[in-house]
């Protein structure tokens, strides 16, 4: 059964049709590359899945249950985690503090509730080890490389047991070596049965990790096919409109 299913999703802002009648379903442990040019409707679609705003038409289902969200917190509650394009990290805090931001752990000293530094350091250490990242829980984000920052942002999604992780342009602003690091992080999420939606402009990344590619053009889905049955050339044609649709 599909983990997340979108049926005939449309979104318009006034007269502008941002997303038009898009349907697809995501299976557990699948990596989907969501591609499209600027203004193709990728971010609008992602924001709807992330609970930032509701679709104008159509329905979303999670494990067969209708999914209605009014706020990003709702998405988190339903098992959808988002790694934002700007990563949403605080430079002045440690890696562990960022992983647990908004979801801090406590312990009690008598009647007083205090932050549980030890457990938060230990848990984030475990998460980074699990992601095979050499990020250290006590280091400040300010002193970290792009790949390590990605690991912190991705590490956040490991606090809950998400079913779907949306990653918005995770490789847009980092070095080639770090890209490889991020792609292996994605594979590790997939191996744990998590569905990853990778929003990207970079053809090599999508063809490197994705099982399936979905292409949007001007708000409409023009392709949804397995990676091994497609090629970068075809996808480029689909994105630009040189190929009408498959």
């Amino acid at each position: 059964m599909a983990v997340l299913e979108l049926s005939n999703i449309s979104k318009h802002f006034g007269a502008i049709q941002a997303v038009n009648d898009v349907s697809f379903s995501l299976e557990a442990g699948e990596v989907i590359g969501l591609m499209g040019d600027n203004g193709a409707g990728k971010s609008t679609l992602v924001k709807m899945i992330a609970g930032n705003f509701a679709p104008s038409e159509g329905t979303m289902r999670m494990d067969g249950e209708p999914l209605v969200m009014h706020h990003p917190v709702d998405a988190r509650r339903h098992g959808i985690e988002i790694v934002h394009q700007d990563l949403a990290l605080c430079n002045n805090l440690t890696a562990a503090a960022n992983v647990f931001l908004g979801r801090e752990l406590y312990r009690w000293i008598g009647p007083i509730r205090v932050l549980d530094y030890a457990t938060m350091y230990r848990r984030s250490g475990e998460i980074f080890a699990e992601l095979k990242s050499e990020t250290r829980p006590r280091d400040l984000i300010r002193n970290m490389s792009g790949g390590q920052r990605q690991a912190v942002a991705i590490g956040r999604t490991r606090l809950s047991n998400p079913k779907v992780v949306l990653m918005d342009e995770p490789t847009a602003a980092i070095s080639v070596r770090q890209v490889a690091e991020v792609l292996s992080l994605i594979k590790r999420l997939r191996d744990q049965g998590i569905t990853v939606v990778l929003i990207s402009h970079r053809m090599p990344d999508v063809f490197g990790v994705a099982d399936r590619v979905i292409v949007l053009r001007r708000g409409t889905k023009v392709a949804d096919k397995r990676i091994d049955q497609s090629s970068p050339e075809e996808v480029t044609g689909l994105i630009t409109g040189a190929i009408e649709g498959v």
């Binding site: 990003p72 917190v73 988190r76 934002h84 700007d86 990563l87 949403a88 990290l89 605080c90 430079n91 002045n92 805090l93 503090a97 931001l101 908004g102 979801r103 801090e104 406590y106 509730r113 205090v114 932050l115 250490g125 980074f128 080890a129 095979k132 050499e134 250290r136 006590r138 280091d139 300010r142 002193n143 956040r156």
Partner: protein, 332 residues
């Protein structure tokens, strides 16, 4: 020799010693100690119990407000209204008690007034998106004017039936001969230090100052927290006002004039960054202490008092210069 990944991860980058040596508050503290040793040797009058008593007590009013200001600066804001709020709180207390009410009632009214002003600042800044500088600049003018209205711009020096208790509250020394204001300062610093280090609220202040957008996305209640922080800042000014009333034994409407700048200076010298995200309770205390030691020492060394501003201003600029150097190093 090869180092495994686990060893690298296990290696702690920040021991308590390195973080101490990196802390601006620590170096300001060292500067204060050095200055005190020098003054002890160079003058006869510095290391007398009377002078130490004076210094510690004078530090407190700036330090108490600097604790509140530090929290505002940590979230990337600024509160210019504290000097006027101190005056208003003091005047409200004085007028209430002068009218025959007891000490408790007077303190309650002063505290509520301060909190209301902080809430007004906070709501305008957090919910209506006003720049903190402008809102609190407006409040600087409003609060002092309200103090003048409340007192009809007179000096109040008779505080009704609880007159003696009020003077004892601010001017007494209830524990081991330590001036009461110092006790209040230490207690408040411990509370603020605890909150910043050990509570979710404190953690969220640093997050908001570091990246407000990120804090919002991760579910931190940014707006309510901002309102509370401006309320705490006003409350700290209100408390300083209450204590100062008891210490001075009289209130005029020019009380706390220009104090906001001295408080901001104390916070910045103590290591709070006006960009937000950095600062601490210890910093507020040592910053205020350094300013007071400079002020005191210039007098004792017989240097013209007109030079005070130059020395304190130089300290502010040096403190910010240290911060710039650190930023440049960490951005390499």
């Amino acid at each position: 020799m090869s180092v495994t990944l686990d060893q690298t991860i296990a290696q702690r980058q920040h021991t308590w010693l390195t973080s101490l040596l990196k802390s601006q508050a620590f170096w300001v503290f060292v500067a204060i100690i050095v200055a005190c040793l020098f003054l002890t040797v160079a003058t006869d009058s510095f290391a007398t119990s009377k002078n130490i008593f004076n210094i510690t007590r004078n530090v407190t009013f700036t330090a108490i407000i600097a604790l509140g200001m530090t929290m505002v600066i940590i979230i990337g804001g600024i509160d210019l209204s504290v000097g006027s709020v101190l005056c208003l709180s003091s005047m409200v207390l004085a007028v209430t008690m002068h009218a025959g009410f007891g000490l408790e009632v007077g303190i309650l009214v002063a505290v509520v007034t301060s909190l209301a002003i902080g809430a007004f600042n906070g709501v305008l800044i957090a919910y209506l998106g006003f720049p903190p500088f402008v809102v609190t600049l407006g409040m600087l003018s409003i609060a002092r004017s309200l103090a003048m209205v409340a007192s009809n711009n007179t000096v109040v020096f008779e505080f009704g039936p609880d007159h003696a208790r009020l003077l004892d509250l601010g001017g007494g020394a209830w524990l081991l001969g330590i001036a009461n204001p110092v006790l209040y300062m230490v207690a408040l610093a411990l509370i603020v230090g605890f909150v910043l280090k050990w509570t979710k609220f404190g953690r969220h202040l640093y997050a908001i100052g570091g990246n407000e957008h990120a804090a919002t996305l991760t579910g931190v209640p940014v707006r309510p927290i901002k309102v509370v922080v401006y309320m705490l800042s006003a409350l700290s000014a209100g408390i300083a006002g209450i204590v100062q009333t008891g210490w001075l034994g009289a209130v005029t409407t020019n009380l706390g004039t220009g104090m906001e700048l001295q408080v901001i200076a104390a916070a910045v010298i103590g290591g709070a960054s006006l960009i937000g995200g950095i600062g601490g309770a210890t910093g507020a205390l040592v910053g205020a202490a350094l300013i007071e030691v400079i002020r005191n020492s210039l007098g004792l060394l017989g240097i013209n008092a007109f030079w005070q501003g130059t020395f304190i201003g130089a300290c502010i600029i040096i403190a910010v210069a240290f911060e710039r150097v650190r930023q440049m190093r960490s951005s390499d």
